[in-house]
Amino acid sequence: MTAFLPVALLLTALVPAGIIFFLPDNRERLRAFINLTGAVLKLVLVGYMLLSVMGGAVYEARFPLVPGLDLWLRADALALLFIALSAFLWLLTTIYAIAYFAGGENLSRFFGFFSLCVAATVGIALAGTAITFFVFYELLTLATWPLVVHKGNAASLAAGRSYLAYTLSGSAVFLTGIVFLTAGTGPIVFVDPPDMAAVEPWLARTAFVLMVGGLAVKAAMVPLHGWLPIAMAAPAPVSALLHAVAVVKAGAFGIVRVIYDVYGTEVVQDLDLGLPLAVLASITIIYGSLQALRQNDIKRRLAYSTVSQVSYIILGASLAGPFATIGGLVHLVHQGLMKITLFFCAGLLDEKLKITRIDQLDGVGRRMPLSMLAFSIAALGMIGVPPTAGFVSKWYLGIGGLQAGEIWVVFVLVASSILNAAYFLPLLYRAWFVPLPDSPDGERRVAGAIERPWSFVAPPLVTALTALLVGLFAASPLSPLAWATLIAERTYLP
């Protein structure tokens, strides 16, 4: 049983991928059925595993890959945090994507890679060794490329090229780092971190820089973030998944693994690696927001916002102390919920009203009230307006920073909140307070059937509501905060 569940979790995405690739494009219903069955099954499995892991269970499966290298799957609390997020958002994104692409072309190819992408994410979460992690990390790179270039136009292809150039070089650096450290310590197994005392400090530092530097490409840390805004050429569901769970988060998750399960927080601080990383993360937070401020394209503004927000996770991980850890980990979930909502809505605006720029948003709140309601909740969450999820992340990060003796973290959070307000509030103002351009009073034009079908509008509403509820009931034992606290307890009180 313990070996079966992690494998089953992978299979819930791999098997649909395998089948869907061979379905003819016109079998829409069957494809949707397979997709949704996989997604629901996965959610059920994750729910079951969450309960058992909370009680202390650990699921493990090992397969020999080549002699001396095992493919090792292991579901610990941290893995499940990431998997639970991806399972939940995958289901919603699938529903959304089916509505988004209704009647489109090459959909079997698309949904096949889509499932593969999710399988890779699960693999990354479950990976028990650095090499296993790397295998899935690469699978993710390759499975995502066809999604990015799905539209097949020049912009998409250029985006795909830059995506591959960035991520493959990043992977190469990451791999070098793994090899480097492995040469000093033997195979890197997350559950049993290598004994860093035996490693020369310079080697440990170099390996850390290489590994984190390589992972930072996908996590879009400045100055390695250039691919992300370009990848906006991808269809909305892809952007949503890319920004919320798949690629960007895989990078951030990798950095979290390296800090907690390869080096350990104490070693990271002893080697003086924590503070520089925290500073780099803070620079990214501020720089991403500054760039977001000057975008007029909605998706590009959201993309730079991702650059900024994902580094909260890295900031939390690089500061020593339980509160910072909790803040970083919980933001992994919170950012995912809020950002996917924003991209869902951006996709809706584009599809339904051909709105892609901020200056076209005037009065749109009256035409698409539900979508803009979801968008507003998520945007306020990004700013950190309580009681949304973003507030909880910021609170814990701020306390964590102060506990680590780094008072400047508070200033970074304050600056980031102000910048977030500066680039999100004007959107909300246009949507809700400026009348529609073609009706001077702006009152009587109310949308009839724009926000249809329900499968198109419900996903952002569900994610926005969740983002609100996880903040409002942050102290509840069922919240992501409670789970992040559990992980932090297991990290700091072994």
């Binding site: 490409v217 100055p223 701020g398 102060l402 307070f433 102290a475």
Partner: protein, 562 residues
Amino acid sequence: MNGALDQLFLAATLLVPLAMAGLPIVRPWRDRALRLLPLAPLPALAAVFLVADGTTLVLPDLLLGARLAIGEQAPPFLLMATLLWSFAGLYASHALADDPRRGGFSASWCLTLTGNLGVFLAGDVVSFYVLFAMVSFGAYPLVVHDRTEEAVSAGRVYIALAVLGEVAIFAGLLLASVGVGSLLIEDVRDYLPLSPNQPHALAFLLVGLGLKAGLVPLHIWLPLAHPVAPTPASAVLSGAIVKAGIFGLMQFLPLGFTLDVWASLLTTLGVVTAYYGVLVGLTQRRPKTILAYSTLSQMGLVMALLGTALRAPPEALPPDVVLAAAGFFALHHGFAKGALFFSVGVAEKAGRRVLPWIMAVAALLALAVAGLPFTGGALAKLALKEAMPDGPPLTFVVFSAIGTTLLLGRFVLQLAQTGKDSDDARPAAASVVAWLAVSALALVVPWLVFEAITGAPAATALEPEKLWDGMWPILAAAGIALLAAAEPGSDLAAPAGRSGRMMLAALRRLPRPRLPEPTVLDAAVVRSGALAERLETGLVRWSIAGTVLLALALLTILTLLL
């Protein structure tokens, strides 16, 4: 006593208005939502009287563990806020009955109300912050409701400073709560004098909370935003909502500890605010703007009072005396300022026949704010003075009454210009009821609750000495006004003679505070954008090459090593 019924009552004080905020979403209930506005604060009003002392509602799952209670300082604030919001709701329900945006108005009205009441009930810092944010963001639609250019521009200043205030409070609460081990407001406040983060925490809290209360120089939004809102919204903004900032300061300032620098800073800024409000207010012509400056000035007095209490006795009076006085002063000011704002709305709809009556009531209220004997304001001033130690701050407070009289006297005169150009025009009955009711509350309620709040008998205010204390500033102001009027070509705006007039003229020439116009802002963005664009392009080009080069170089080193 912690009965389940009491707790339920406490929850209802916030849940009822919160639920009502959702009503206008359902289109058929939009009008009903507006008509029900007067009822929204009633559960809270009832709770002030009915909920047993010490009732605490603990909701461990909510936020980071929420706690609501009617604390020691809350009753005067709750009493004032609930009654004022209720009558303002009555006013609004008629004044906005045909307004095309009444749905959104009702919703943000109820949200702001929930936050406003909640701030007085919050027992832990996170709940306080959440509810405070609800006030700040919820009130934005009220400010820009009319969508005039002026309202939108005031709204821009409002929201920019509201965001600034929110993040300042956030940072202040973070700094104050780290290391406490509890999120209860009282624990955080008690730890503050010992906290290593004390200077930063206090600075941020003072900025965030002072901003809401109009502390100079953070006040610039207030005289812009309060007057542009529809009259009932102006009334609650200036009457009840500024008190959220005052209440926050009362909750978080560690009164009774010697924090000399902070004591001097807050007292000085408070006094500056009090006089600045009068001086600049005198240069204004619009009645509502004059009232907003008067709010500034009055809140300055409360902040000066709180500042004097940031010292240990005997240099200062005991914290509970000071807090009671501040609460009592806020109670009276809330009613009086609310009623004065209503009088503007009523006067705007009035013809020549009724206008003098309206001005008479307004004048009485104005004198009450200045501390006229036998009015509620006399008690408010008495409480304020009794809670301050002898010294320059007290003197400043005493003399401020002259300024208040002049400022509000000018308000009453300006009111004469607002009426309708007809003989018989009459304001709507509902607005008259709201206005007269709140005026009566302002004059009477302070007498009823003085002893309960401050512990001293209200009859103290009737001693001849106190009567004279209340009377002479008003007489002095009248004298100044007469002198100024006697000089040809001058008006009340020149109370201190020629030099004063010159100073005021200079003040009047000051540019009105407002954020850059959008076009200016855009130009700035474009300019900074060019730089950022170059940086970004460079980074993008550099980073690909950089990554690859780094990887290759290190691979080479690695192979050499192995």
